[in-house]
């Protein structure tokens, strides 16, 4: 695993103030002929330093426009936005010095190599040459482009270009990173890689990341907090667990064999168990093994399953029930989105 040199917390105390991003009453309108489009229509959000925030919403929700304002690309029509304490309008120059970004569309020069792209980027930020060189080495390793970095980017696959862009966004060791739909249109393998890098960056560097996505799985997988955005407004926000938890409890499904009535009885005595019953459709295949389990038990929990998994396993052992397979189903962000917008998120 690649270790990225990271700024020591003492190097820049002023950047460590939280929250890293503060947005209130943000509005941006566009003129399209006679019509005025309110692309961003009163967005409020806060992103704590060192956390990942995902703006989740369908196409046209205003995600890109919000990112464009926060990265100083376009000014807001009204409202306030601060990045690391700096106002994106009045202190745009200072914001630019400390942020990194990738855009929704892939933008790399096809006739230049990956190395050229990173080098140009480093120079745009006035990095010393030696630092540019060492950063290129580190980041090329991080995004696994060692073999391709000196080739023109026109020979890259879509996933490789995305990874190069991520490396470019990280060249300058930004305080805050903006990723607009970082995995849009990628195959599952490249998507997983990008997710891995993003998690790694947060874990190793405490980087603050604001990303947008219309994949609920992405938000669920990566984000500390999710803001559901629709028609230019954040309709609901919270941790993925909070958002989903607010919808109802988890259901644990257990396949196995043994003293089923005894197991059910001891489950029903637990305060965290809402209900427990044997599944009517009796025998089921244990996934991946082809084995047929004798019993299927479903347990409805009052709270999230997380901390109760171990007690449930212990109860099964105590009751003489042998667990072959274990699964938890929870309401998804899709259901959350449905609840707050009345529409389904299209993938």
């Amino acid at each position: 695993m690649t270790q990225i040199a990271q700024p020591s917390p003492t190097a820049a105390p002023s950047f460590r103030r939280s929250p890293a991003i503060e947005v209130s009453g943000l509005v941006r309108t566009f003129q399209a002929g006679q019509k005025t489009i309110r692309a961003v229509d009163g967005v409020d959000l806060q992103v704590e330093s060192g956390s990942i925030y995902a703006l989740l919403g369908p196409n046209g929700a205003g995600k890109t426009t919000t990112i464009s304002i926060l990265t100083t690309l376009i000014p807001p029509t009204s409202g306030l936005a601060r990045v690391a304490g700096y106002d994106v309008v009045k202190d745009a120059a200072q914001v630019r010095r400390i942020i990194g970004a990738t855009f929704q569309e892939t933008v790399v020069d096809k006739n230049l190599s990956g190395r050229d792209a990173l080098d140009t980027h480093g120079r745009l930020y006035h990095l010393p040459k030696a630092l540019i060189k060492s950063r290129i080495e580190e980041l090329t390793r991080l995004v696994e482009l060692e073999d391709a970095i000196d080739r023109p980017t026109k020979t890259y696959s879509g996933g490789m270009k995305r990874r190069l862009e991520l490396a470019r966004g990280l060249m300058t060791a930004p305080q805050v990173l903006f990723l607009d739909e970082p995995t849009q249109g990628l195959d599952p393998q490249n998507r997983d890689r990008i997710w891995t890098y993003i998690r790694q960056l947060r874990a190793e560097q405490g980087l603050t990341i604001l990303l947008t996505t219309h994949y609920m799985e992405e938000a669920e997988q990566l984000a500390d907090r999710v803001g559901i955005i629709d028609a230019g407004r954040i309709v609901q926000s919270g941790t993925p667990a909070e958002l989903i938890g607010a919808l109802g409890e988890d259901v644990v499904t257990i396949l196995g064999d043994g003293n089923t009535p005894n197991f059910l009885e001891s489950l029903r005595q637990q305060s965290y168990v809402d209900w427990a019953s044997q599944y009517v459709s009796a025998a089921a295949e244990v996934e991946g093994t082809g084995e047929i389990a004798a019993a299927t038990v479903q347990i409805g929990l009052r709270e999230q399953a997380g901390k109760f998994l171990r007690p449930i396993v212990e109860l099964a052992e105590g009751a003489g029930f042998k667990i072959a397979d274990f699964s938890i189903k929870r309401p998804s962000l899709n259901d959350v989105f449905l609840k707050y917008t009345g529409r389904r998120l299209r993938d």
Binding site: A5, A12, I74, L131
Partner: protein
């Protein structure tokens, strides 16, 4: 000694007190973009080929065939040979073509979104424009150089007075900058390559033919002469003919130079304004 990210952050801290972009950020930005565009230029066989081929084509086409066809060359071009007479016009035409081509760099970066990388970098927006302008100017000068050399090979000769030669280069610079400005404006306004070429299309050949590039002003029909006087190319040719090739100056430098300076200022101002507008209200 390896430079660490901490040291980099120290640099940022040094700048963090500054609320606006610094001169260093402006100069660094212009140089970085110039360097990038020139690198792309070097790697593009098409672009280099076009850069060399266009002037060669013009020189051969006009220099050899037309020069041979036109009778009474000495009547037409009293003080220099015909090659020396037409070389300045072709030089300016290639500079104009280079400026137009340079505009497509800006247009392409705008329409693909590459420009966003520059616009969110700690680089003044002016640097983004100046970077593109400077690379397009460099390409224009490379072409002008090819023309000068070709002219020499075809027997144009050259005025060896260094002061006058430098003066000629400055005239070339001022003229090209004017069109670089106009091309930047068109590239900032255009929605795509097609509309860019529509906007800019009127400039190309008329600039050559509605000027004194091939015939002296006094031999022209009045209508053409009037149009030629409205064309900045006429003044640049007049000056360059004298400064590079020692020809008799028809209009006079004291008119040529102020006209060209005014043209440059107007062109650049137009370019700046259109660019500024395009980056503050995208799409």
């Amino acid at each position: 000694m390896a430079v660490t990210v901490e040291q980099r952050l120290d640099t940022i801290n040094g700048l963090a007190g500054k609320r606006s972009e610094t001169w260093r950020e402006l100069a660094g930005g212009v140089y970085t973009l110039w360097r990038k565009h020139m690198k792309k230029f070097r790697r593009s066989v098409m672009e280099i080929g076009g850069t060399l081929f266009t002037p060669i084509l013009w020189m051969l086409l006009f220099g050899l065939s037309m020069g041979g066809m036109v009778k009474g060359i000495s009547d037409f071009t009293p003080s220099v040979n015909y090659i020396a007479y037409i070389t300045p016009g072709l030089m300016l035409l290639t500079c104009l073509t280079a400026a137009i081509l340079g505009g497509t760099t800006l247009l392409m970066e705008r329409t693909t979104g590459i420009i966003k990388e520059y616009l969110i970098a700690p680089v003044p927006r002016l640097a983004v424009l100046l970077g593109t302008m400077s690379s397009s100017l460099t390409k224009a000068f490379l072409q002008a150089l090819v023309i000068i050399v070709l002219g020499l090979l075809l027997g144009s000769g050259l005025n060896l007075n260094p002061l006058e030669f430098v003066g000629g280069l400055l005239v070339l610079l001022v003229y090209t900058l004017g069109f670089v400005g106009i091309a930047s404006a068109a590239a900032s306004k255009a929605r795509g390559m097609e509309s860019y070429h529509t906007l800019i299309g009127v400039l190309n050949l008329p600039v050559l033919f509605l000027s004194n590039a091939l015939y002296p002003l006094e031999k022209m029909p009045v209508v053409l002469a009037v149009l030629a006087y409205l064309n900045p190319t006429t003044y640049a040719i007049d000056a360059i003919r004298g400064l590079f090739y020692g020809a008799t100056i028809e209009i006079g430098l004291w008119i040529d130079i102020p006209v060209l300076l005014a043209f440059m200022v107007l062109g650049l101002w137009y370019g700046f304004r259109a660019f500024q507008k395009s980056v503050t209200t995208p799409n």
